[in-house]
Subunit: 198 residues, 2 copies
DNA sequence: GTCTATATCGCGATAGAC
DNA sequence: GTCTATCGCGATATAGAC
């Protein structure tokens, strides 16, 4: 019903902007990423770009949403026959993060800014946290049934701690890249295996 | 040797500024904490305040340094006979943090901003992380000797993970205060006790 | 040595032309 | 849909009063 496909075209333009923004930020980091900078990358003026997003805050939340989408697609493509658990995917994404410092910084900085009560990206993060914990709890329960995780652990608490560890490690890694994020998360998971298992 | 005590007076003024700033930020959060706002609180102009600090970034790093100092003093006063381990103190500070959301937010936001390569607060955080890990490793080794922590754990990795968990939990708590930071850190530590112990 | 006042800069937001 | 122009804000550097 969209007249002349203009609606679909707007959607496509948004996608183009988000993809270009991911590219620019992955290379240049968050610091230099002004709306003008991102607008230049797609040949728009600052006001032209903000035509597609209601504010800078919302734009950056959408960039992170797009990034999660891309990460998920890459994971699913590499795991067509669903052999990997959610936790395996989690470790793999953490390893991949070391290749895109700019995006790690975007996440670290925006999540901190979004702790402000009226920040437009706050709903994105609260929802992201909720979903991550939900999926983690499910995966932890599975591990407990399998015997790959200690049965005495509280899945909710461990889920929050895994999320916290992942986010905290990113800041530590940005300050000192000799910290291996993937190894640390993997080590934490290994530390929670039953004494018997391995 | 300081002529007319003017040097000492400058030091005293700095302390006064930092103490007042801690108070204002604890109440109002990081968002509203412009240099002007903090200057007002001590009856100075914005430029007047910046006379004592080389930049806004340095000022905020000093505020956090002062906060660590205050936290340490409170801990030591409550533990005159050195009965508490470093980990006990750590949990206690995390519990106390729930009473000062503005300071938690200051820490979360400034640590994220300081991931920028040329940020004036970056040395503060890299050093703070180093010292925290160092003290943690020492405390973890002690726990392993005591039998209160599993002997098979890698102290360095666990130290980084504890720091990461603490920092990550603060962001989660700022987004959703129903998360209990102290309980979670305590739970993580308890999960790393030997199977025998308790 | 300490401060007030000011000028300048870059940013995001927005109004309105085309 | 995209632009130009402009606005207001916060951070800083500096000139110079006391």
């Amino acid at each position: 019903m969209a007249r002349r496909g203009s609606y679909a075209k707007g959607i496509a333009k948004r996608e183009e902007i988000l993809t270009a923004a991911l590219d620019v930020i992955a290379r240049n980091g968050y610091g230099r990423a002004s709306v003008r900078e991102l607008a230049d990358a797609v040949g728009l003026s600052q006001a032209g770009l903000l035509h597609y997003f209601s504010s800078k805050e919302e734009l950056f939340a959408e960039i992170l949403r797009k990034r999660d989408e891309v990460d998920r697609e890459v994971l699913e493509a590499a795991d067509a026959d669903h052999e990997l658990s959610m936790m395996d995917g989690f470790v793999q994404v953490m390893r991949h993060n070391a290749d895109v410092p700019g995006l790690v910084q975007l996440y670290a900085r925006l999540s901190a800014e979004a702790t402000e009560a009226d920040h437009a990206a706050r709903p994105f993060f609260t929802e992201r946290f909720r979903i991550f914990r939900e999926m983690s709890v499910e995966s932890i329960r599975e591990g407990q049934r399998d015997g790959t995780l200690r049965a005495d652990l509280d899945p909710e608490k461990i889920a929050s701690l895994l999320l916290a560890a992942a986010d905290g490690l990113q800041t530590q890694w940005l300050m000192d890249p000799s910290i291996d994020m993937g190894d640390h998360i993997e080590y934490l998971l290994a530390s929670l295996k039953p004494p018997a298992a391995e």
